[in-house]
């Protein structure tokens, strides 16, 4: 038998032995089988790889160690007679399988042993993460620290529950293990949710935030829709029919502009009685109507798509709603937090008229 085959036979036998000890705790199995591969290798060198029954070997091991007898199986002392393996729960088998894999990988094993030293600290972190998740999930404004006695008590409760969850007595029976498993799953989801904001309500907020950052059609100021614009000069005198352009020389428009085939625009709105009306311009350059001339008039008819004529049925002149003469003081303008300086508009776009 080659060295590789011998090594595989040893590994297979050791894995079966550990599986047969599956009703014991992982620590007991570790104690019982630590160094097993080395012993088997030496025995194989002298006597070959016929190790007999793994279940019988495991049974002999546990009996000699004074550990609990398996529920089913024969007793023997030489380990060579076939023995029925004790019943092992799926949960325990999974743990044993992972333990066996860990032991076969010395690097992983060392890392795991190193991590185990900090498990108490990790339990505390886990509890605190659940507390943060709860505060976040219930919409309570919260930093990283409790901000009231109630929150402090909740944090202590969560950390305490996490510590209890980590205690060994949970391995006692299947019901307790099931509770612990549920707690573990909940904790993992809570921690992931807290870290990555993966909760549905947070996702909604995320999408809503993204939606709100999409380019908006029209003109907004501080989130409020602007439907009409009134221009005054520096002396406070109202300027009728002013064309306005932005910093790029683009004409300023308002939201929901309907454009006729002639290039005339109008905005749907409501009159004082709640009936449909339009906001449109009454400005002409020669015989050509100019859309981008402010303020707009409120009319009941639309621009004529065929003739290009502007609506004539004016029901409300917006100029009646604003003062003829006004001066805006700096204190009335929005000021950036922390700034003491009065705002002083400095942008003076100089658009080039395109004949529109």
């Amino acid at each position: 038998m080659s060295t590789a085959e011998t090594k595989k036979a040893i590994q297979d036998f050791a894995t079966k032995v550990r599986a047969a000890l599956g009703d014991l705790t992982p620590e007991e199995i570790q104690d019982l089988t630590d160094g097993l591969e080395a012993d088997l290798a030496e025995r194989a060198a002298e006597q070959g790889t016929d190790f007999g029954s793994a279940a019988g070997y495991a049974n002999e091991l546990r009996m000699a160690a004074g550990l609990a007898e398996p529920k089913a199986g024969e007793r023997n002392i030489d380990g060579n007679r076939p023995t029925k393996a004790p019943r092992v729960s799926l949960y325990q088998r999974r743990i044993n399988w992972w333990n066996a894999k860990l032991e076969q990988n010395s690097g992983l094993n060392k890392t795991w042993q190193w991590l185990l030293q900090f498990r108490g600290f990790l339990w505390v972190l886990r509890g605190y993460a659940v507390f943060l998740m709860a505060m976040n999930g219930f919409g309570v404004p919260n930093g990283l620290l409790p901000q009231s006695k109630l929150q402090f008590a909740l944090a202590v409760f969560c950390v305490g529950c996490s510590l209890v969850l980590g205690m060994k007595f949970w391995a006692g029976n299947w019901f307790l293990r099931l509770i612990r498993l549920g707690g573990q799953v909940f904790t993992i989801l809570a921690v992931i949710g807290t870290v990555f904001g993966a909760y549905p309500w947070q996702q909604n907020a995320y999408y809503a935030a993204n939606f709100n950052t999409q380019p908006q059609i029209g003109l907004y100021e501080n989130g409020r829709e602007v439907t009409n614009i009134f221009a005054y000069n520096a002396n406070g005198e109202r300027l009728p029919l002013v064309q306005l352009f932005d910093q790029n020389g683009e004409p300023i428009s308002v939201t929901m502009v309907n454009v006729t085939p002639n290039g005339l625009g109008y905005v749907n709105t409501l009159d004082k009685g709640g009936l449909q009306a339009n906001l449109t311009t009454a400005a002409y350059v020669g015989h050509t109507p100019v859309w981008n001339a402010w303020p707009l008039l409120k009319t009941t008819d639309s621009p004529n798509s065929w003739t290009g004529k502007l609506p004539t049925n004016v029901i409300e002149d917006p100029l009646n709603n604003v003062p003829v003469l006004t001066v805006v003081h700096g204190s009335l303008l929005p000021v950036q937090a922390g700034s003491n300086a009065s705002p002083s508009p400095t942008v003076s776009p100089s658009p080039s008229m395109s004949g529109k």
Partner: protein, 119 residues
């Protein structure tokens, strides 16, 4: 006579005895026992006994890396183990003398010896 049943009762002291003067690992201890004549003993029985003695505080352990192979777990007797060994050694000596006396074929009292042997 089934010597394996006898071994069960004295395996602790046998294991303690073979590592009294020199630390050993699992299979090494099995080999020492067999060399000493305790041949009807399973490997796993010895390993389990080592673990039980360790749990009882009679042994200490340490791991020694093996060249190119899995590590070896060495067992060493400590003060508690030494005291245990001394006590069990004394008990065994007394017990074996009793049994030797008991089992020695009598020269003058065959009837008594027969009853004693049935005990």
């Amino acid at each position: 006579m089934d010597t394996t049943q006898l071994l069960k009762g004295v395996l602790d002291v046998a294991v303690l005895a073979v590592i009294e003067n020199e630390d050993g690992y699992g299979y090494d201890i099995v080999r020492r026992l067999r060399s000493a004549g305790v041949e009807d003993i399973g490997d796993a029985s010895v390993y389990g006994t080592l673990r039980r003695l360790y749990t009882a505080g009679a042994l200490s352990t340490y791991v020694v890396p093996s060249d190119g192979g899995p590590h070896r777990k060495y067992y060493a007797i400590n003060a508690t183990g030494q005291q245990m060994l001394n006590e069990q050694r004394a008990s065994w000596t007394a017990f074996s003398q009793t049994m030797t006396t008991l089992l020695t074929p009598p020269q003058s009292k065959p009837a008594t010896t027969t009853r004693g042997a049935k005990k």
